[in-house]
């Protein structure tokens, strides 16, 4: 089995401030498989950014173990840092220096040829605009520059902290294309995002954290997929249909004119049972709880309870 790109166990980070000690991470476990795009979700203050900062050695853990690209951190950070691209807490650059110069200095500081900067800037569509000082760039351009900085390295792993914030839809689409291309080339991506639809669309695996701890982790389809899905059924005699399905040991309940059956593995079985009793289905569809609902449930918020709105054809 391939070694995970990131393996974290029992990670704890406490910040001391005037208000006392605050545990940003309280025994976090995290596994990011190699090769995919891994979503990293959690409410504000859950510890996502702290986790990424710890991985990059920008802050030091109080306890716990971290491995990145097979190397223990922070002891062997130097062995892997050249292969880890990152955009943490938004694009942070010297404000009076041009975008291109900022990236050139970063590339030179790690011994990379300056020409990789132009390639990265082209990739994010920031050719001419990169000559402007970082201060005078638009927010979207600054964000693109931040993404370009993550591409400057010959990265096997890219850590992105809410990278599509302040990007317009076109830029977001462009960014997703870049991310997929990166991933196709074998780069593992850890994507921290508040955009749950984006994570569901892009990511193969996901970790959800809250209060500095892991709440759930796994493949997206396992977390919100078929096992959690339900089937909405519309028939002319719902009460009779309900009785039939219960006799067939289905977990079913009535919801208005509809019947809601737990599971959506074999919908044809449902139509068959009802048809044999002369009840013909006028509508049958899957109700798949999406990542949004799953996330809200996990983090202590109730998702909206209106299955019709969530019905997928």
């Amino acid at each position: 089995m391939t070694e995970p790109a990131i393996q974290i166990e029992g990670l704890r980070k406490v910040y001391r401030g005037l208000g006392g000690r605050i545990a940003a991470l309280d025994g976090l476990d995290l596994t990011v498989p190699t090769g995919g795009i891994h979503g990293f979700l959690g409410p504000n203050g859950a510890g996502k950014t702290t986790t990424l900062r710890l991985l990059l050695g920008l802050t030091r853990p109080n306890s716990g173990t971290m491995h990145m690209l097979g190397q223990p951190l922070p002891d062997r950070l130097l062995d892997v840092i050249d292969n880890v691209g990152a955009l943490i807490e938004g694009p942070l650059f010297s404000r009076s220096i041009s975008g291109r110069k900022n990236l050139q200095l970063l590339a030179r500081s790690m011994g990379r040829p300056v020409k990789v900067v132009d390639t990265a800037l082209e990739q994010v569509g920031l050719g001419k605009d990169a000559k402007r000082s970082f201060r005078s760039m638009t927010t979207a351009q600054q964000q693109r520059l931040g993404i370009a900085s993550a591409l400057v390295k010959d990265a096997a792993l890219v850590l992105l902290d809410e990278p599509t914030d302040s990007l317009d839809p076109a830029d977001t689409d462009n960014f997703r294309t870049i991310l997929r291309e990166l991933n196709d080339r074998g780069t593992t991506v850890l994507l921290s995002s508040h955009d749950l639809a984006e994570v569901q669309q892009l990511c193969t695996t996901v970790s959800i954290i809250g209060d500095g701890k892991l709440l759930a982790e796994g493949k997206v389809e396992d977390l919100v997929g078929e096992r959690a899905a339900r089937t909405a059924v519309r028939v002319d005699s719902p009460d009779q249909a309900l009785s039939l399905l219960e006799k067939a040991l289905y977990d079913v309940h009535r919801d208005g004119d509809m019947l809601v059956v737990q599971g959506h593995e074999r919908p044809e079985e449902i139509t068959k049972i009802l048809a044999q009793a002369g009840l013909f289905v006028s509508e049958l569809s899957a109700i798949r709880p999406n990542l949004h609902d799953y996330y809200l449930e996990l983090t202590g918020h109730e998702p909206r309870e209106d299955p019709r709105e969530e019905v997928a054809p």
Partner: protein
């Protein structure tokens, strides 16, 4: 390491604040040279006539002619066994007070006049202050913008980054202080030369040593400001602390109930390093009954240099340690 130093040198140079500071220092030198040249401009015939007339009037008003007359009766009683009547006129007649003196480079590095240090020392202090502000902004900028975390995500060897930044500050401060301080003296040399007042070799030697000390002072001060900003992580807070240490520290030193506390004043040591044979008034000196002592104290270059060097080393050590451990 060389690569990292080059990167930090570029970061230091390309900042807008650094450009403004260079312009400000250039203007400062220009103003300084102009002021000294104007204050020492050659006396006009009218200036001389006025001074002589003033001296004569002064002599008449204060009854000097009576004194001269008395002296001429018994010159040896007044001026010693070898004195003659002619000496009475020479030595008791008031000298004309000319409104200004000729340009003398050595005078510009001697002790302060009135409440301000002399021009050479003032320039050295202002150049050092300018470079300190520039260094503090260079160190504090990445903390303020957050770009330090981006820099460290690319180059996590923290000591290397810190050392490269410190060396970049030292190199740029060295170049800029040499440029501005030397420009000041070279310009004044040509001013003196154009007036037929070619400085003597002693004057040139004194100015050369002063320039060397001023450059070392500016480099040390700017590297120290950089190091302190890394500890405090805020440019304005660092500059406020330095201001307090410079001025508030003087007040505090005067109230410390320890005899000779003036020895530890930052300002006294800075002037002790720059000014040849620096003396200062130490209000904390307590004389035991029956003991002869004075509140005027002398500070040698070695004493002041040792104090400043130890201070710099302590700040550098603290800074390097803080940078290795701090969360960015």
């Amino acid at each position: 390491m060389i690569n990292q130093i080059r990167v930090e040198l570029t970061r230091y140079r390309v900042r807008r604040a650094a450009t403004f500071m260079l312009l400000a220092l250039a203007v400062l030198v220009l103003v300084g040279v102009t002021k000294v040249a104007w204050d020492t401009r050659p006396l006009t015939a009218q200036d001389r006539q006025d001074a002589i007339a003033q001296a004569k009037m002064s002599a008449q008003r204060s009854g000097v002619s009576d004194l001269i007359a008395q002296c001429q009766q018994k010159p040896t009683d007044w001026l010693g066994p070898q004195a003659t009547a002619a000496d009475c006129v020479d030595r008791l007649t008031p000298e004309p007070k000319y409104p200004r003196v000729d340009l003398n480079l050595e005078r510009l590095i001697s002790e302060g006049k009135d409440t301000l240090p002399s021009e050479g020392n003032l320039l050295a202090l202002l150049v050092a202050a300018g470079l300190m502000i520039s260094a503090a902004m260079f160190a504090g900028g990445p903390y303020a913008s957050g770009s330090l975390s981006t820099q460290l995500a690319f180059q996590p060897r923290r000591f290397r980054v810190w050392a490269a930044k410190a060396i970049a500050v030292a190199i740029c401060s060295l170049a800029h202080s040499i440029l501005f301080i030397a420009a000041f003296w070279v310009a004044l040399y040509f001013v003196a030369d154009s007036r037929g007042l070619s400085p003597s070799s002693e004057q040139l030697t004194a100015v050369s040593w002063h320039t060397l000390r001023a450059v070392i002072f500016a480099v040390g001060a700017s590297v120290g400001a950089f190091a302190l900003t890394v500890v405090i992580r805020n440019t304005m807070a660092t500059l406020a602390l330095l201001l307090f240490a410079t001025f508030g520290g003087e007040v505090l030193v005067n109230f410390v109930p320890i005899s000779g506390a003036g020895r530890w004043s930052l300002a006294n040591n800075a002037m002790g390093w720059l000014v040849p044979g620096h003396t200062y008034f130490d209000a904390t000196i307590h004389c035991a009954p029956g003991q002869e002592c004075t509140s005027m104290q002398a500070m040698s270059h070695l004493q002041a240099g040792s104090y400043l060097a130890v201070l710099l080393i302590v700040v550098l050590a603290l800074s390097a340690l803080a940078f290795r451990r701090q969360d960015v």
